[in-house]
């Protein structure tokens, strides 16, 4: 089963009337839409107000990451986001967890976040100063590559630092970022 089928399958498995499924072309402008939908749905299913900023940022980071991966590797494929409130404890009574899964179609895309992103930034600044003698075009390309890498690493650093319930996986047919937050008691 590929990543998007897995994500869609998540909805089917939960058989929940509260699930929301988003599919969007990998364009940066759609990430804001995904953030807005995620926060609106989180609020509706009962995620406490103090966690909504975290939901907004985390869903944005996961979607930005997926958009970046798709733009580089498969720009024709949509990014899939599944948002649902599930009964994780199995109480059979009420949903107790708000779960968001962002699925991509790119295999092997789970780089290890570098420890101390800030330290790497200081090194990068020195590298750039040392590269000043290079031809301008070449230096600019190298700089852009560095920024792409910085973005990917920082996106993962933000996700791992922000979300306690986080699972980033990758398989031969794609990967997914699964994030969960508690739903307050009604």
């Amino acid at each position: 089963m590929d990543a998007q089928s897995s994500a869609v399958g998540t909805v089917a498995k939960t058989e929940s009337a509260t699930a929301v499924l988003l599919r969007f072309t990998p364009q940066p402008e759609h990430v804001r839409t995904a953030r807005l939908v995620a926060v609106a749905h989180a609020r509706r299913v009962g995620v406490e107000a103090g966690l909504l900023d975290e939901v907004r940022l985390a869903v944005g980071e996961a979607c930005s990451r997926a958009v970046g991966l798709h733009q580089r590797h498969c720009p024709g494929e949509p990014v899939v986001v599944v948002l649902d409130a599930i009964d994780e404890s199995g109480s059979g009574l009420v949903a107790d967890r708000f779960v968001v899964t962002v699925a991509d179609k790119v295999s092997g895309a789970v780089p290890a976040p570098r420890a101390g992103v800030g330290a790497g930034v200081a090194e990068g600044a020195e590298d750039e100063a040392a590269a000043e003698g290079e031809p301008a075009a070449q230096a600019e390309i190298a700089e852009d590559d560095d920024e792409d890498l910085d973005d990917a690493e920082m996106g993962l650093a933000v996700l791992t630092g922000l979300v306690d319930d986080l699972d980033i996986t990758s398989g031969p047919d794609g990967g997914s970022v699964r994030m969960g937050w508690p739903v307050k008691d009604f």
Binding site: G60, S64, V121, E128, A129, G155, V158
Partner: protein, 113 residues
Amino acid sequence: MDLKLETRDENGRTIVKVGGEIDVYTAPKLREQLVELVGAGKYHLIVDMEDVDFLDSTGLGVLVGGLKRVRAHDGSLRLVCTQERILKIFRITGLTKVFPISDSVEQAVTAVD
């Protein structure tokens, strides 16, 4: 939501006032602004983020890129930010150790980097 950018010079520094959301869609506009300023010889920058509603890692990457550019010219890039939800992102990524952060533009303008 559009990204709003205003620049002005004060006390030998260039202040970039940013408003709105800095994300994967809008961050390139901020990057262009910072590149343009450095290209024009403005190497001591203050980025005022008090009106920023949202910042993600793409925005962080642009600020880091700006810092690298001004440092290459012995310049500086100082941030103005008091919003806890924005500061939290800098703390998570360890960037509070990289960027000097002031509570106000007045403080940033007189700070020694």
